[in-house]
């Protein structure tokens, strides 16, 4: 299959060509970042994934905005194993749980860059789960490299660089669609993170500096570009590769998300499902 205009300079390998082609042929929509409550971000992921699966929404890239600091637990994490709840409450850090697996993230609104991709499962037909993780973030890695960050994808689900780990991805699948979302660190408040998250003892060195600190490579340390500029360049990079039409969350989707916050994501039964 030949591409139309915008052919890349380098001839891709056959495997890469088929990966690129997987993205084509969809009317990709962009939901821009708007500050939202952490619980709404959780619920929107569920709503939008189901809508894409049902064919009610075209495949979509959603940039997240965060209104408040929070800890986002992975689907299967235990609250008490991961969080110092007293410290979190003391610092006004909300605890929420997402639908996808993976690890806990401490998020401050301007400290993170998060996005979700809602795609039909057919798009990754024939890929193993690990392959699909790398597949969905390949474009971001390329954009980071264009920005001068020496980044690459490390299995299972890490975006890393010579400066340290930049971000991580998680996935959930339901209703014929895939939710793939990724958070990258722009800047990290390590002292606060260490207070609210239980970092395993082995990550501390006896020199008093956390080796967790050494292992992460927030983007602010690797580029002079501001937070919003990085996001803009990411969006440009996605658009130039696969196309993007401006869009937004519909009123109906918003209402459905608000209902899910009440009935599920905001409930103790969900958040403390694994206490």
């Amino acid at each position: 299959m030949t591409t139309a205009s915008g052919v890349r300079a380098a001839e891709p390998t056959p495997g890469a060509r088929s990966d690129v082609e997987r993205w084509r042929g969809y009317d990709w929509r962009l939901i821009p970042g708007v500050p939202r409550a952490p619980l709404m971000n959780m619920a929107l992921d569920e709503v939008l994934t189901l809508r894409v699966g049902r064919g009610e929404r075209p495949p979509t890239l959603r940039i997240w905005g965060w209104s408040d600091p929070c800890i986002v637990l992975g689907r299967f994490q235990s609250v008490r194993n991961e969080v110092n709840a007293a410290a979190a409450a003391e610092h006004g850090v909300e605890i929420v749980r997402r639908v996808s697996g993976g690890g806990a993230m401490f998020i401050e609104p301007e400290g993170a860059i998060t996005y979700s991709i809602y795609a039909p499962e057919a798009m990754v037909a024939g890929l193993t789960f690990p392959e699909s993780y790398a597949f969905f973030d390949a474009w971001v890695v390329e954009v980071l490299r264009e920005l001068g960050v020496d980044a690459w994808y490390a299995p299972l689900n890490d975006i890393t660089s010579t400066g340290g780990k930049v971000g991580g991805a998680a996935q959930a699948r339901r209703g014929g669609a895939v939710l793939h979302h990724t958070t990258m660190a722009y800047q990290m408040n390590i002292p606060l993170m260490l207070q609210v998250l239980r970092i395993g003892q082995e990550k501390l060195s006896d020199k008093g500096m956390s080796s967790a600190e050494k292992r992460v490579g927030p983007l602010r340390q690797q580029t002079d570009l501001p937070h919003d500029t990085i996001i803009a360049r990411m969006v440009d990079g996605f658009r130039s590769r696969y196309g993007l039409t401006p869009d937004d969350v519909t009123a109906d989707e918003l209402a459905a998300a608000e209902r899910l916050v009440r009935e599920r994501f905001g409930t103790r039964a969900w958040i403390h499902f694994l206490p």
């Binding site: 992975g74 689907r75 299967f76 994490q77 235990s78 008490r80 194993n81 969080v83 110092n84 709840a85 007293a86 639908v99 996808s100 697996g101 993976g102 690890g103 806990a104 193993t128 789960f129 690990p130 392959e131 299995p155 299972l156 689900n157 998680a170 996935q171 959930a172 699948r173 260490l194 239980r198 970092i199 395993g200 003892q201 082995e202 990550k203 501390l204 006896d206 008093g208 694994l274 206490p275």
Partner: protein, 162 residues
């Protein structure tokens, strides 16, 4: 024999789990305990994650963990009653498809006799995992190891030897 896995990553992890050192990350379970620096842990060279086991029971709760090399952490918490596992909780930063399979994994451990070996536990877990389910970043072997660590730590007063 191991059931076929779709990705070489998991196969490599299982290989490492069989052959290599089994490691367990220490995590305080009492949330009022601050993360201690300079805790008596063996220092290890840079590319290795230093590991030690701390299994603390809150009251009678036992806790064991296993981190798959280059993979994820899985933890099991449970009580023991009449020499059987009770009120089991499996948790961690792994991925699992479908999500509902967590119940299958937990049910496999519930009521398990504490005398079972690690491989017997792992086999029970593997049999309970639905045919089309996938556990990414961890494995039935990891769960077996975590259970045995929890039981072993409870039998000793000091650190488990990871």
């Amino acid at each position: 024999m191991l059931r076929p896995v779709a990705d070489s990553g998991a196969a490599m992890e299982k290989q490492a789990a069989r052959v290599g050192a089994r490691r367990c990350r220490a995590r305080p379970t009492n949330r009022d305990v601050p993360v201690a620096r300079g805790a008596p842990q063996a220092a290890t060279p840079t590319n290795e994650e230093p590991f030690a086991t701390i299994s603390e029971g809150n009251q009678s709760r036992m806790h064991g963990e296993y981190k798959t090399p280059n993979g994820k952490l899985i933890a099991v918490d449970f009580e023991v009653e009449n020499d059987k596992l009770k009120d089991v909780m499996i948790s961690g930063d792994f991925f699992l498809y479908p999500e509902e399979a967590l119940t299958d994994l937990t049910d496999a451990l519930e009521g398990l006799a504490v005398e079972l070996s690690e491989s017997e536990i792992s086999e029970r877990v593997r049999m309970a995992l639905p045919r089309d389910a996938e556990l990414l970043g961890s494995s039935p072997e990891a769960i077996g190891a975590a259970v045995r660590r929890a039981l072993a730590a409870d039998e000793e007063t000091g650190d488990d030897d990871g």
